[in-house]
Amino acid sequence: MTDQAAPAPLIGPKRDLAPLLLPLAIAGFAFLLIGSPTTWLTLTLAALAMGMMVFVIASGLTLIFGLMDVINFGHGAFIAIGAYLAMAVLGPLAPWMQADSLTLNLAALFLAIIAAMLGTGVLGYAFERVLVRPVYGQHLKQILITMGGLIVVEQLLHVIFGGDQKTMALPTALRGAVLIGNVALEKYRLLAVAVGLLVFLVMQLTLNRTRIGLLIRAGVENAEMVEALGYRIRRLFVGVFIAGSALAGLGGVLWALYRETFTAAIGGDVVVLVFIVIIIGGLGSVGGCFLGAILVAMMANYTAFLAPKVALASSILLMVTILMWRPQGLYPVAKR
């Protein structure tokens, strides 16, 4: 129309890079405070591993909220269920786990992860149907009923598996560290980082390159308009809920192996961090969630070393600081 202005400039997507400087700044600052480069490297790897695990868990939750404004405190239940299912599968596979063969070790882990994700996916479907669907659009009821669901699941796990503390040992090939020079990099942490990056990559590809992914991003921004274009947002939401629950299950397996001991309360512990992460990242933003997870984990690991007394408060402090800078989180999602 009246837009014959300049010779067509190719306008690419704008990128907001400022938040990406945060982890670099925090890591750099920690480097100065810690002094020892090897300690710093060890802590940084620990932070990245923890960050990736938290991201795997949080990524589904941020989309669940973004798409239908559902606040799901029950997300932690799937973390716990994932851990217990993996334990149940790894029990009979103990010879594979103890074998001195990376292939057998990974095969056992892979089977455990598949079982955990399938199980939590199916249970996520039931959870959505029975508990979440009746309270669409009602935040207070969502909080109460999903918390109730979490408690029920925890108690059921106690009944089924017993209330004692469980252990899940790492497979032989993933114990210990690889030495690079005089820096020891724990193998399992490297694996956790790899898995987290893989999940992030697959999610990015899905969200950016597939129609379903575009619909999810569009729905997070304006669910009503997605419906007006002829798509059933609730089906999309159920799919996201199932995928998010399965990812929480995967995160539960990773986390339980990382800690090596756990109880049914494992989910409740992590989910606090997870909520902080999705608020920092910007509700509904997967990229923000990724960054937020790394930031929270860095703060947790660096402060645990530098000032153990404030370690617990560090993620809250981080959240408050970031919200003062960007009240909607690092990558706010435009809402109608």
Binding site: M1, T2, D3, I11, L214, R217, E224, M225, A228, L229
Partner: protein, 240 residues
Amino acid sequence: MADPLLRLEGVHTHIGQYHILQGVDFTVPEGGITMLLGRNGAGKTTALRTIMGLWRPSRGAITFDGRAIGGVATPDIALAGIAYVPETMAVFSDLTVEENLILAARSGPIDPRRRDWIFSFFPAMQRFWHAPAGVLSGGQKQMLAISRAIIEKRRLILIDEPTKGLAPAIIEGMISAFRELKHEATILMVEQNFRFAAALGDTVAVMDDGHIVHRGKMADLAADEKLQTRLLGLALDQHQ
């Protein structure tokens, strides 16, 4: 006379405790452009949202192409062949122009001829094809919202105030776009800009306070300044 494409009979809509539409009756004949006019707050947007299933009518019947669509879910109404350009435009700002249109073209890949046809009257869509819709100006967002409604052929297009906040030159361009569009789709358009409405409209319905207070030919209303003043509250020259 042939059956109208869309018919509203005694439609009531409540939003929360508010009784907004209080028995709305009008029809949209197949082909051409029907204008839905009325003062601010008359209930025009509510009427379009009710047709689209975004509000559920509490009473009355809505018939589209012989099929009752009152109370039907929004996606099914869309699939029946109705496209919607909301007052807020509701472009997906995080998605590129292309991605917005990919979603709107729900039956498959975008038809390149159709895309070029849209470029012919909205060249900005071509220039910003790979840009996120969030960077578009208000007028360009409006063009994208309309493009989404026409990237595939639909029976009926509901458009809420397409000229809102647009510069006069852009409005001129839009008039020619809609003149071309009305050859293939029926349009129900809400408009505040009377000159624009008079230039495009074939039939007209005027709303006030949740009721239809006038129905007729657009040309007749355009020729009757007294009636315009009574129905819309403003004389034509003041209204620009």
